[in-house]
Symmetry: C2
Subunit: 242 residues, 2 copies
């Protein structure tokens, strides 16, 4: 009944073309039903989703948005990753990515980049990234695990970031309680629990941003179903906060 | 280095005046540094934060907001708990509570209420609730634990709820990384991690809404500092989403 979260340790620094499945399988024994959570940064680096600042030619819009405090090349990179600017304040730009995620800088980040002067972008398709790593782990170990690609996002109205799932394979990201009854027979209204986001946040507890732990393995959580992080994105027509 | 989440099982149904500290201490062995997470619902019930629908006289505003689909008495209850209506759509009202939390129905909930025809309200001061339970646990067991009161909140742009911390005692709810460097010496910009929210979400993974598990004990997470869930509320002047 209990759930255990173990840090993924012993992984090397990775660069484009790294076989993450092999690196995880080699560093950690996996059991059927485990949930492997990998930080977006290591997945993006393995996929070569890195740009050099000095190769970015800022548009007029990027220069305008960057203002006095921001780096127009960084803003140029995030604009290329965005479909919509949601809010701006000074150098902070909150944008919606092509995937439908709303986050600071459209997920474009200079921290933990492979070298100074580079930026790391989100994976093109984090669900596909999760699925590829899952398939590779099954190929190498013979066991079926779930894989989550996680990233740290801020939230409206609340301080601090929490890790959430931007890529999912091998588990249903939403636990659907619609139709189930509580102890007094009342139909539960809070109908769906974003368990993939809770798993990503739980993994963050052992990762520690600057400690070089790029992921975690969660054991004992009864996964079922299959699905994708795309299901976690609120459809625009239901969204009260667009 | 690993973190374990154990469900709190064996607690009875509680009503106003219940001694939650004693019930937890009796059902679970606690060690120094454990994090005890309790669902808001059980804490509210123990504090008698329950109202009867038939004792609520709906105001004109409540009747208007409830529209054709809602119960005006339920809306009356949530209006009394609110300082601001943030969004409405049909019977759904998202409101800001006196504590500064933005959530559906200002946290007023009919599911898992003690009996049909009643509503459960958020604790008046969930940080004080957490601190009382923490003090009582220390008194009874001699060990210092952290206590989190959790609730399931929806989020803009994302499907499903996650559990977050609405009351905290005995740990710093934000892990402050400002000034720390990543592996390449770059100063981390995503500066604060809302670990109390991640701990609440992790606890939810073993709670399961309708299974009668009102909390969890998290072991192996190195807590430090002290603080309150009030620190997790974004100050209005910094809030881009008011």
């Amino acid at each position: 009944m209990s759930v255990t979260i173990e840090p993924l340790v012993g992984l090397p620094e990775v660069s484009g073309g790294a076989d993450l499945g092999e690196l995880v399988a080699r560093s950690h024994r996996l059991d059927e039903g485990d949930v492997v959570v990998l930080a977006q940064k290591i997945v993006s680096k393995a996929e070569g989703r890195v740009v050099r600042l000095d190769e970015l030619e800022p548009s007029a819009r990027a220069t305008d948005l960057a203002g006095a405090n921001g780096d127009p090349r960084h803003v140029e990179a995030l604009l290329r990753e965005s479909v919509r600017i949601v809010r701006t304040r000074r150098a902070l730009v909150i944008a919606e990515t092509r995937h439908g995620f709303v986050c600071a800088s459209a997920g474009v980040d200079a921290s933990n980049a492979p070298e100074t002067g580079t930026l790391v972008l989100l994976p093109v398709d984090p669900d596909a990234s999760a699925r590829r790593i899952r398939d590779r782990l099954r190929e190498l170990t013979g066991v079926s695990v779930a894989v989550i690609v996680s990233d740290s996002f801020g939230r409206p109205w609340r301080q601090g970031t929490t890790d959430i799932a931007i890529g999912v394979a091998g588990l249903a990201p939403l636990l659907d309680l619609r139709g189930t009854k509580d102890a007094s027979g009342y139909e539960l209204r809070s109908t769906q629990i974003a368990v993939a986001d809770e798993l990503a946040g739980a993994a963050e507890l052992v990762m520690g941003k600057s400690a070089g732990v790029p992921g975690a393995v969660i054991r004992g959580y009864r996964t079922d179903g299959d699905g994708s992080a795309a299901e976690l994105v609120m459809p625009p027509e239901r969204d009260l906060f667009r």
